[in-house]
C-alpha cells in the first residue's frame, strides 16, 4: 500500500535533517529516509567547522544565511550542538600568501561581503599565540567557530521528528519514480508518495540524480581527520592554512582535531575507507612545523567520512532542471557542514514559497543541464 506524505527527503545527513526540520516548521509533514543512521557519514564525522571564511563566492550568501541560524541553533533544535564561536583564522605562512589574502579580502569587500578581515602578524599572534613566529598574518572571520557534528546532526534529526517528520533509518530509498504527479519511493516493504522529493543523499546523491536523467560531474571522496589525546587548553579559534592542507581545532575537552582535506580511499558500497598514512604524516609534519607545542601530543584515532565532491567544488542546490517537484541538495565538496542549517531553511522556502531571498542561483543543477521545465523556477 502506498502511503502519502507531504515531502520525501532522501538522506539523513545534516542537510536532509535540516530540510526536514524546516519543512516541518513550514507546516509540512515530511518523511526522511536514511539508509544507515542520521550522521553516519560525512555529516557526523567531519571536522565540525562552522566557517564562512575562505568560501567560494557563489556560496557565500548561503553561508551567511546559515551563520545567523548557527548563532541561535539552541533555540531551533533545543540543543547547543556544542557550537562555539571563537572565530576561524586563515594563516599566511609567507608574504606571497599574505598578498593573496589581501587581494581576496579586497575582492570580497568589493562585492559587499565584510566577514573576512585581513590581520597582521601581531593580531595573528594575539588570536593564535602558539603559531610559529614566522607567519606574517592572515585572515580572520570572527563570527565563525565550530560545533560537534554528530551531536548537531542528531539534534536536527530529533527536532524534525518532534515536529512531525517521520524518520526511517536503516533502510535505503529504492526505485524512485515520478507517477501521476507524485514521487514514489520504496522503503523496505513500504512505498511512500509525495509531490516533493529532496535528494540530499550525500555521496549517494549523484547516482540518484543520474538515474533521474541529471548526471553531474561528481566523485566520492573521504577526507581524513585525526584527533589527539587531551592536552591543556592552548588555542581558541579554528586555524586553517592558506598554502597547505591543514585545519586545526582544539575542543573544550582538550583534544585537538587535525584535518585539512587529505583523502582516504573510499569503499562506498561497504561504508568503508582505507586511510592513507603517508598523507596523514604530511598533516602531522605541517602541525609539527606550525605548532611546535604539539610535537609530543599523541594521535589517538584517525578516520574519514564518505561524501560527494563536485568537479567545480560548488554544491548542487535547488530545483531539478528536468522534473517537477524534485530538488537537489548535495555535492557540498568537503565544506557542507556549516551550510546545513541555512540550506535547510532556504530549501524549505524554495519548496513552500517557490523562491527565496537568499541568492543561490549560482548553485543550481542548471549549470550542467539547461532547464527543460515549462514554468522556470522563480528564485
Amino acid at each position: 500500500m502506498t502511503k502519502n506524505v507531504d515531502a520525501i527527503v532522501v538522506g539523513g545527513g545534516i542537510h536532509g535533517c535540516s530540510t526536514a526540520l524546516h519543512l516541518c516548521l513550514a507546516g509540512m509533514k515530511p518523511m526522511l529516509i536514511e539508509k544507515d543512521y542520521a550522521g553516519r557519514h560525512a555529516s557526523g564525522v567531519n571536522a565540525g567547522g562552522v566557517r564562512q571564511l575562505a568560501r567560494h563566492i557563489p556560496e557565500i550568501p548561503l553561508s551567511i544565511r546559515s551563520m545567523g541560524i548557527w548563532e541561535k541553533v539552541a533555540e531551533l533544535v533545543d540543543d547547543d550542538c556544542s557550537f562555539e564561536s571563537h572565530g576561524q583564522v586563515l594563516v599566511a605562512e609567507n608574504e606571497e600568501e599574505l598578498a593573496v589574502c589581501r587581494a581576496r579580502v579586497a575582492e570580497l569587500n568589493g562585492l559587499g561581503f565584510t566577514h573576512e578581515e585581513l590581520i597582521d602578524a601581531a593580531e595573528l599572534r594575539r588570536l593564535v599565540p602558539a603559531v610559529a613566529e614566522t607567519c606574517p598574518g592572515g585572515v580572520v572571520s570572527r563570527r565563525d567557530g565550530a560545533a560537534n557534528p554528530a551531536q548537531t546532526t542528531t539534534a536536527f534529526r530529533r527536532k524534525a521528528e518532534r515536529l512531525g517528520a517521520t524518520v526511517r533509518e536503516g533502510v535505503a530509498a529504492n526505485n524512485i519514480r515520478y507517477r501521476d504527479g507524485r514521487w514514489h519511493v520504496e522503503v523496505g516493504s513500504d512505498t511512500f508518495a509525495a509531490p516533493v522529493l529532496v535528494n540530499a543523499a550525500g555521496a549517494w546523491a549523484g547516482k540518484i540524480a543520474a538515474d533521474l536523467g541529471e548526471p553531474v560531474p561528481v566523485e566520492t571522496v573521504a577526507p581524513m581527520l585525526m584527533i589527539t589525546s587531551r592536552v591543556p587548553h592552548f588555542i581558541d579559534p579554528v586555524v586553517i592554512l592558506r598554502g597547505r592542507k591543514l585545519s586545526f581545532k582544539q575542543f573544550v575537552n582538550g583534544t585537538v582535531l587535525i584535518g585539512g582535506g587529505h583523502l582516504a580511499t573510499p569503499y562506498q558500497d561497504r561504508n568503508e575507507t582505507v586511510l592513507d598514512w603517508k598523507s596523514l604524516a604530511t598533516s602531522a609534519q605541517t602541525v609539527f612545523e606550525l605548532f611546535p607545542v604539539m610535537r609530543s601530543a599523541t594521535i589517538v584515532r584517525a578516520w574519514a567520512g564518505i561524501e560527494a565532491k563536485m568537479k567545480d567544488d560548488i554544491p548542487v542546490f535547488g530545483p531539478s532542471s528536468r522534473h517537477q517537484g524534485l530538488y537537489h541538495q548535495f555535492g557540498f565538496s568537503l565544506h557542507g557542514f556549516q551550510l546545513g542549517p541555512g540550506a535547510g531553511a532556504v530549501m524549505a522556502e524554495l519548496i513552500v514559497n517557490g523562491g527565496t531571498q537568499t541568492r543561490v542561483s549560482d548553485l543550481g543543477i542548471d549549470r550542467f543541464h539547461p532547464s527543460t521545465l515549462q514554468n522556470k523556477r522563480t528564485s
Binding site: 598523507s279 609530543s296 589517538v300
Partner: protein, 472 residues
Amino acid sequence: MTLAPKREDYDVVVIGAGPAGLAAAATAAEAGLSTLLLDENMGPGGQVFRAISSTPVTDRNQLGADYWVGADLVQVLRASSAEVIHRATVWSLDRNLEIAASIGGASAFVKANRVIIASGALERPFPIAGWTLPGVMTAGAAQTMLKSSALVPNGRTVIAGQGPLLWLLAAQILRLGGRIDRILDTTERGNYLAALPHAFAFLTSPYFAKGLAMMREVKAKVQVVSGVTELSASGDGQLASVSYVAGRRRETVPADLLLLHQGVVPNVNLAMAAGVEHRWDDLQLCWSPVLDANGNSSVAGIAIAGDGAGIGGANAAVVRGRIAARAAVEALAPASAAKLVPMAQLRTDLAKAERGRVFLDTLFRPARQFRIPSGDTVVCRCEEVTAKDILDAVAIGATGPNQLKAYRRTGMGPCQGRLCGLTVTELMAQARGKTPQEIGYYRLRAPVKPITLAELAAVPKTEADVKAVVRG
C-alpha cells in the same frame, strides 16, 4: 635493542608472539616463507607464557608445567628463519595488508602477502562500583607481575570472580609466598546445572584433573566464599574495603588489593580496524571474528589464530597458529606444505585441545550483574562515563555504541573501547530490548594504539604530499 624490519615485503607477517603467534611464525618460516613476527611485549610468550625467556621464577613447580611448554615453542621459533621484533606495536593494518608498527619511537611500514593476527585475548571488563580505584586490578595484572618480576601481593588481598585463571593465579601467588586473604567466587549456582550436559567432554579433557588439584591446593590455605552475587570496592582515592553479598549475607572486608577476573575475551581492536567482520558469540558473550576452518577472515589475506579467533585456551591457540600458517603456505608455496604436519592431523589436534571448552564456557559464564552495571558505576574508564550516563543518552535517542559517542564520548579515549566496549553493547542491548548483534560495536580506527604526532610527522612521505588545497 631496537631494530626495524629488514625488508619492506614479507610473505607472512604474524602479529603477536603468544602461543598462536609463536607457532604460526615458526611454521611459516619452516616452510621457507619470509616471515616477520611483530610483538608488543619485551619478550616472547604473550600473556600465558609471559616472560618465558626471562622470568626470575626459576623453580619450575611454582609456575607449573603448562607454563614451561612455552619455552619449547620459543626454542622452535628461534631455530627458524623467522625475523622477530619485540616492543613493536602494530598500530595500523588495512585491507591492502599494509602494516604500520611503532618500534623504538619510529614507525615502520611493511606489506604482507598474508597476515596472521595472533593478538590474543584480554580480560573481560568487570565493571563494579569502585573498579577504577587504585588498588583494584585484574587477576591477569597480578599474574603478569608474578611471572615477569616475581612480585606477589603484600597487603590485604582479595581475589574476586571466576574461571580457571583465577585459581591458577591464586595457586601461583601462594607458591611464591604471597598473601591472599579471601577469594570471592562469583560463579552463578545455576551454571553448574547448565554445564552438566557438557561435563563428559570436560572430564576427559586435560583441564579437569589439573583444575581440581589446583582448587584443592588453594582452598587448603585461603578462605573461599562461593555464591557471591554482589560486589563493590570502596575507598577514598585508594581501595580500602571490598563489600559483597553471598547467600543473604552482606559482608565488608578491609583490603589493599582487589584482583578481579571473570574470564577472557578476544582482543578485537586490530582485526576490527582492518575491517574483519565479527559476530556476537552468545555463549562466550563477546565479539568473535567470522572465520573459515583455516582461520581466514572476511578480509582477503588476513587470518586470525589463537584466542583472538574465539577463546580456546593456549593448547588450541598453538594448533590454530599452525593451521593458519599451513594454510598460508598452501596458498603461497604449495610445494613446501609437504614438509609440514598434515592438515588432517592438525584438525585432530585442535579437536582434542578444544575438548571441554563448552563446559568451561557454560560453567564460567559471567553473571549479568557483573557484566551490565547500573547507576554511578563507571563503564568507560578513559572518559569516566557511568552506566546512568549511558542510559540517559539512550533515553534521548542514542541507538548504538557509535551514536553514543556523540552524546558521551564513550570509547573515544586512548583504550578505544577495550575496557568498555562489551559493557556498552550489552547495556544498550538491555536498555533497548535488542540483541547485542543488533546493537553492534564501536567502529574501531587506526591508530589502534596512540602514536605521537612527532612520530607520525617523521614518516616518509610521497610525491602526493603537495596537492591543491582542499578545505575541510
